[in-house]
Amino acid sequence: MYQYNDFDTAFIAERNRQFRAQVDRRVAGNLTEDEFRPLRLMNGLYLQLHAYMLRVAIPYGSLDPAKLRQLAYLAERWDKGYGHFTTRTNIQYNWPKLSDIPDMLDALAEVGMHAIQTSGNTIRNVTSDHFAGAAADEIEDPRPVAELVRQWSTDHPEFQFLPRKFKIAVIASDSDRAVMKSHDIGLKIVERDGARGFEVWVGGGMGRTPMVAKLLRDFLPRADLLPYLESVLATYNRIGRRDNKYKARIKITVHENGLDEIRALVEDEFPRRRAAFSGVDQDWLARINAAFVTPTLSERDAAVYYAARDADAVFRAWADTNVTAHKHADHGIVTISLKAHGQTPGDASADQMRLVADLAENYGHNDIRATHAQNLVLPHVALADIPAVHAALKAVGLATANIGLASDIIACPGMDYCALATARSIPVAQGIATRLEELKIEHEVGHLQIKISGCINACGHHHVGHIGILGLDRAGVENYQITLGGDASETTAIGTRTGPGFAYDEIVPAIERLIFAYLDLREGPEETFLEAYNRLGMAPFKSALYDAEARAHAAE
């Protein structure tokens, strides 16, 4: 992966020095909170319900053992021994003290990490495919482009005060594993007539007005990427709304002006931007590319793997859900579930992080990924080593066999932590997972993505959940709305609300009714929840949710 050079190291050191001085001035009273807040946000430091929260960037979800061990160290030294992986593949620490933040940032800098631009009205962490470099269906590893965009966007002088936050994702396969069409800009690396370039998608987003991105440019030659991004950002910076926070994202700018108008403005700006680029960025991209070589994967007899599958039902069940085919026949992509039933989705303890780092070192070519679904991935593991990996994961509670199943829930921190939340989300996720475990039905249910947000900002991606749950405050009481039919894949779709919401003690039974309705209605085990919903529509599910309630109340 990309290693910092002298420039990067010096840049981070200077940035940290500046922020340390800003913290000192804030504590001494020489900066007001209004002056300090934008500065701390640009360095990923939030003030939450119970404490500060530091959001550390994990660029395009990529880690190596040294980085992951340092994240474990931060958790132990300056936090409560754990970290939380987010839907933008960052990690959050929920309990740091303001006075410790400069030391934490220096510790991150030691391993080439930072918290720059993980908040603020600027370009945020660039995300990508967590199977990059290992997936059989990618045309190339998308991460070098993500790294180029990261470097270009970090401290870009023109784009530090955008109307609102800006999120970019890069993929390189038809399969969208990065929720690309829910980003402000989505880039898909494609090949046309033998040339590599990008589909440029614009205006996707979640929040209170979810939208699926639209195709801005069908084919952008590779070398034009940065000038074209600048054209889009400059256009947004100029005409994006600053009068209303809820209408400030580029999705609204596209919606209100029309895609054709936006395209015209971007294309008009483009020649100016293109002229300003000398091509040095493409030279630099070539050097970044060199850092992302897929490791040499030797031929390894996989007999041990298949024998373990035959001999051990627990291993087989885990391998069925958590091991994905690798482009190299002797290898597998291992997804480590951070969704143990009843645990907080996406949390990992320092010990667990260190164990994963060890596994990556011993069996995984020093490669670890964080996913937007709040899990971890070892993308390159020889099949022959996977039984040993599983045994090690089991010992620290990381062997839950539920990837892609109903208990692999995406949940934002919600009102247990977040100052913006209107309801709790973590206990709902815990309740659903625990109930599924009690009923022992999730393997039969199969692929089902449940996503929970604790407020309208939709950080839990509920809009694109097959089942989405949105926690709101209704007359001072937690109330949960359900949406159905969302889709986070390349066939991105926004879910539809079922009807009235459910109280905190009603939501888990409601989800249970939905799941049993699906089992009744499906054509067979091969038809997933989403497929059944798309075939049948809302009516039978709405019935399952509300008719039972009506009957129960009528009986009273």
């Binding site: 504590v27 119970h50 303001l98 973590i426 206990p427």
Partner: protein, 103 residues
């Protein structure tokens, strides 16, 4: 016609530690809601809030939170304030683990 003013406390987050604090009648910042000064007069509450907001060297984000009178001091009227004074519901962290919870 003005709405009736309901009891409130001044609450904020401590600048360094980041944890939830409440303004007491003695002008100190207490970690325990039971020690908070309950404000029942609107003008008084506005004034206390202004005073709190001026103490930027000690706290961040001061505001007035609704409370009701309880046998052991003020109690939250909204679940958000209940979480603020106790801590998260998924882990035994925050004030509940420091023995300061009244729940």
């Amino acid at each position: 016609m003005a709405q009736e003013f309901t009891p409130k406390v001044v609450t904020a987050n401590a600048l360094i530690e980041g944890d939830v604090v409440y303004l007491t009648a003695a002008d100190t910042w207490a970690r325990d809601l039971a020690q908070a000064e309950v404000l029942t007069d609107e003008a008084d509450a506005d004034y206390r809030l202004l005073q709190a907001q001026a103490r930027a060297g000690e706290i961040v984000g001061a505001y007035l939170a609704d409370v009701k009178h309880g046998p052991n001091g003020p109690e939250p009227t909204h679940f958000r304030e209940d979480f603020r004074r106790k801590g998260p519901s998924n882990l035994f962290h925050g004030k509940q683990s420091e023995g300061l919870s009244r729940a």
